[in-house]
């Protein structure tokens, strides 16, 4: 059986009709429409792993796919293969010096468009 909430004494004639004006809603909706269109065509300041600039939609997609890369996630280049080298010690020294003088990457974050991590968190 449907239960009725007890009615407090009210006077419907005194209650506000809660009519909404058209213009505030329209203005905000229009602003939202402009922002949404602008956002869809917005190039961010974030680079992609292949060197281009990421669209906002690509950045959003990266959130869902674990596609954000940070500099500390990029492994250093592996040491040279020593098989068949005339002077393996020299090659290793050169590699170690290159590593010591390696500049940190200029980017702070970039988007890997091919990432497909099912659940990043």
């Amino acid at each position: 059986m449907f239960k009725r909430v007890p009615q407090l004494p009210v006077n419907p004639a005194l209650r506000a009709q809660e009519r909404h004006d058209f213009w505030p809603g329209f203005a905000v909706a229009l602003a939202g429409l402009v922002l949404a269109f602008g956002g869809a065509r917005h190039l961010t300041t974030v680079d992609t792993a292949d060197g281009n600039t990421a669209w906002e939609t690509q950045l959003v997609r990266a959130f869902a796919a674990g596609g954000l890369q940070y500099p500390d996630q990029i492994p250093p280049p592996p040491p040279p293969k020593l098989d068949g080298l005339a002077n393996p010690g020299e090659a290793l020294d050169r590699w170690a010096k290159q590593q010591a003088h390696a500049q940190p990457p200029a980017w702070k974050i970039r988007v890997d468009l091919g990432a497909k991590t099912p659940c990043p968190t």
Binding site: Q7, L8, P12, A16, H20, V60, A64, T121
Partner: protein
């Protein structure tokens, strides 16, 4: 159909109200096909307007709250502004307020279904609705922002909305854990998240839409538009017979007999059953010149 309120035999529910009650579950089911569209994964770059985890294997659009939290964590690093997300939320909010909560949100639909299992319901005080804004500001914006300043990426933040979200647990954690169990690798979802999911399901049996009423940051944000959105509910004093059917039918605990376009309303339109509360669109009106 007679009026379900015992003390009101002379008033029959409005035909629009009857239709709305009948249509809503079907509309919600239809929207499931939009949010759970495996062919729509190319839409992952566009935030949706409902609470639905983007890590769900079948999800089409991105979760707006997850996107918002990610942007907050990125702000100290790249200073990007989510124009697309803000624009979509403004557009949806200004057009219909929180109507997507009542008619389109898959997580709300799930809670509606869970709520039908048990008829015994616990009512919540109305102030609990403000906790949604605590979650929105604290957990979705400030916490990722502060941890982002400390150099912790969002995916590595131990406490975040995504790690605590019951929708994420249900829509992403459960499918991947089941897949892992079938592959013989065991349950991969954390104990905390599993506990949150089970507690949430238990609570949803006895409290109608607990997530929407107390914690949903998206619902809280969209509800801010209820006071001026184009689509709104209007009170017609000529049709009101003080039967209180409107308030009695409101499962969200809104005092409909006082005001209806409030932040607790999800625009399910159940209160429109009596006919005194009318769904309508705001239209531009020409001001009439005063008559002499």
């Amino acid at each position: 159909m007679e009026c379900p309120v015992p003390n009101c035999p002379e008033w029959k529910p409005a035909s629009l109200g009857r239709k709305i009650s009948r249509w809503r579950p079907w509309v919600q089911t239809g929207f499931l096909g939009v949010w759970l569209a495996p062919v729509g994964q190319w839409l992952h770059g566009i935030p949706g307007c409902v609470f639905h985890c983007y890590s769900c294997p079948l999800s089409s659009f991105a979760c707006p709250i997850g996107v918002m939290a990610n942007y907050a964590a990125l702000l100290p690093v790249v200073g990007e502004v989510p124009y697309l997300l803000i624009g979509l939320l403004l557009l949806v909010g200004a057009a219909g307020g929180s109507i997507v909560c009542g008619w389109a949100c898959p997580f709300g639909f799930l809670q509606d279904l869970l709520g039908k299992i048990s008829h015994r319901k616990i009512s919540l005080p109305s102030w609990t609705g403000y906790l949604r804004y605590v979650v929105l500001v604290g957990l979705v914006i400030l916490l990722p922002l502060i941890l982002g300043y400390k150099g912790i990426p969002f995916e590595k933040q131990v406490v975040s909305i995504c790690r605590l979200c019951p929708a994420g647990a249900l829509e992403a954690g459960v499918p991947y854990s089941v897949q892992s169990v079938l592959a013989g690798k065991g349950w991969v979802m954390s104990g905390l998240k599993t506990g949150i999911l089970l507690s949430f399901i238990g609570i949803a049996l006895f409290v109608h839409r607990p997530w929407c009423r107390v914690l949903c940051p998206l619902g809280g944000f969209l509800a801010l538009f209820n006071r001026f959105s184009l689509f709104h509910l209007r009170f017609n004093p000529q049709r009101c017979v003080e039967c209180n059917l409107c308030r009695s039918r409101c499962s969200m605990g809104v005092k409909v007999d006082e005001a209806v376009n409030v932040s607790g309303c999800i625009r399910c339109l159940e209160c429109a059953t009596c006919g005194a509360i009318e769904p309508c669109f705001a239209l531009p009106q020409k001001e009439e010149a005063p008559k002499e």
